[in-house]
């Protein structure tokens, strides 16, 4: 995946505000990268551009050399609020993406069940999304995305709405599944620990307009130890960079 010179402006009440300015970066296969930035800096907007949900005013997004012109099954987005269909069962939700494919119903079900098993929810196949906890809903959304076997997974603050324990558990699951499925993942977060723990590289984003200020490789080997020296070191570096890359004069800003 390659983004070059992405810019996006929104016009609001006659005023045009640049939200993203000249964002460029590349993501290699099987990589997990995080885009880290504070609220409102344009992370979701960037992800929407990458997924083809919105067109950039300038710049292009390419996947395997092909320019992205609209949303596609190659590149599945996991939305901030999961986007599960409340009138379908868990299984029905996972099957949604498979209904295009000319699969016999039994095969479709089997494939959906395989991915539900992968996220540990095969016993919830008949339940409705409202009957599940937030963490379980996130898992269903993940299974639905993986079932179409996309090249790229875009995740918008995937674990922001769940408690710390569930978050840790989901993060470990995501790493395991990513190893198995060999999917490339771009995830947006404002949680430094999450960014460092999950990704191979962290892109730090500044606001007004959103740009990528710094890129930081996370050298420590996976699986990582949350309490390990290296982890804490990278975490500290991110914090420092954020201080340094912060636009002066400094607004009130805390992480």
């Amino acid at each position: 995946m390659e983004a070059t010179g992405l810019s996006k402006r929104f016009t609001h009440k006659g005023r045009t505000e640049p939200v993203l300015n000249d964002v460029s970066f590349q993501v290699g296969q099987n990589e997990i990268i995080s885009i880290l930035g504070k609220s409102g800096c344009g992370k979701s907007t960037l992800l929407h551009l990458l997924g083809g949900f919105e067109r950039p005013d300038e710049g292009t997004v390419r996947i395997n050399g092909q320019p992205v012109t609209g949303p596609s099954r190659n590149c599945i987005m996991l939305f901030q609020h999961y986007g599960l269909l409340p009138w379908r069962t868990v299984l029905g939700n996972v099957e949604l993406g498979l209904e295009n494919e000319r699969l016999p119903a039994s095969e479709r079900k089997e494939r959906a069940m395989r991915y539900l098993r992968k996220v540990g929810l095969e016993d919830k196949a008949g339940a409705f999304p409202r009957q599940l906890s937030g963490g379980m809903q996130q898992r269903v959304a993940l299974a639905r995305a993986l079932a179409v076997q996309p090249k790229l997974l875009l995740m918008d603050e995937p674990f922001a709405a769940v408690d710390t324990f569930t978050r840790y558990q989901l993060q470990d699951e995501l790493l395991r599944i990513q190893r198995e499925e060999r999917t490339t993942i771009i995830l947006v977060t404002h949680d430094i620990d999450e960014a460092v723990y999950l990704s191979d590289r962290v892109l730090l984003m500044g606001a007004n307009p959103g740009t990528i200020r710094t890129e930081l490789a996370v050298p420590a080997a996976k699986p990582r130890d949350r309490g390990h020296e290296d982890f804490l070191h990278v975490r500290r570096t991110v914090l420092e960079r954020f201080e340094l890359t912060r636009a002066a004069p400094a607004p009130e800003f805390s992480i």
Binding site: G51, F53, P71, R73, G83, L85, E99
Partner: protein
């Protein structure tokens, strides 16, 4: 409220209404031909039932109502799904709908008789008109307020347009459409009587007109009571359906 206590409350309220009616008749010493008492009306209903007129008229009315209401619902939902999805088209059609909607279906009755003749058709057309607009408007509104995330999910999985409509837009809009269907059942039931006063020779509306012509006010009142009671039953049935939809769709726990 639990269903049982709600039924009890309904029964109690109806009893109260009948009691008030009886009290008015007794205190005012109204003549039977001016304001029939509940007992007289009950006798009237029994008389109608014995002669078979009651079931015949009831059946005819319910069939006409079903024909008008269901055809209106299907047309309005299909049209509403289309109009709701195509924004510029709705901008164009909206003023037209707003001009037609406030016109009572009865106002059209001279034309309806001219165009559709007499018999079942005029009543069905009038019920159709009464049900059509509430369902159309609620469908358009429902379609336009479909959660943008669902549409993005559908785009992401590359659902073709027709499947987007049947798998995402319609189910997502359905609770609100069901609400429109509920509203429409009330409005169109109101127009049943007027519809049957236009060129029909049967049905509850005709029963009322016919009884008035022979000065049987107890039977007129019997017709009114029947229309009221069946209106209530229809409303309750659809209300139950609407609640079931709400539960299935996760609107309430």
């Amino acid at each position: 409220m639990r269903p049982l206590s709600k039924t009890a409350a309904t029964a109690f309220a109806l009893l109260l209404l009948v009691a008030a009616w009886q009290a008015v008749v007794q205190i005012g010493h109204y003549d039977r031909s001016l304001l029939p008492s509940p007992l007289h009306v009950a006798q009237g209903i029994v008389e109608l039932a014995r002669s078979g007129v009651l079931f015949e008229d009831l059946q005819v009315s319910l069939l006409r109502f079903a024909a008008g209401y269901f055809s209106a619902s299907v047309c309005a939902i299909l049209l509403g799904l289309t109009l709701g999805r195509i924004r510029p088209l709705w901008t164009l059609v909206d003023p037209i709908v707003q001009v037609l909607r406030p016109v009572s279906p009865i106002a059209w009755s001279p034309f309806i008789v001219l165009w559709f003749g007499i018999g079942n058709a005029p009543a069905i057309v009038i019920i159709f008109l009464a049900a059509f607009f509430p369902v159309l408007l609620s469908t358009v509104k429902a379609v336009r307020s479909v959660d943008a995330t669902y549409l993005k999910v559908a785009q992401n999985f590359e659902l073709p347009p027709l499947r987007l409509l049947t798998r995402i837009v319609f189910p997502s809009a359905f609770p609100q459409i069901a609400h429109g269907l509920h509203l429409a059942i009330g409005t169109s039931w109101i127009f049943l009587v007027s519809g049957e006063m236009v060129g029909s020779q049967s049905g509850l509306g005709f029963l009322i007109v016919d009884s008035r012509n022979v000065l049987r006010l107890d039977l007129v009142m019997a017709g009114i009571v029947l229309i009221g009671v069946f209106g209530l039953l229809l409303d309750r049935t659809v209300g139950l359906l609407e609640r079931w939809v709400g539960r299935q769709w996760g609107m309430e726990k």
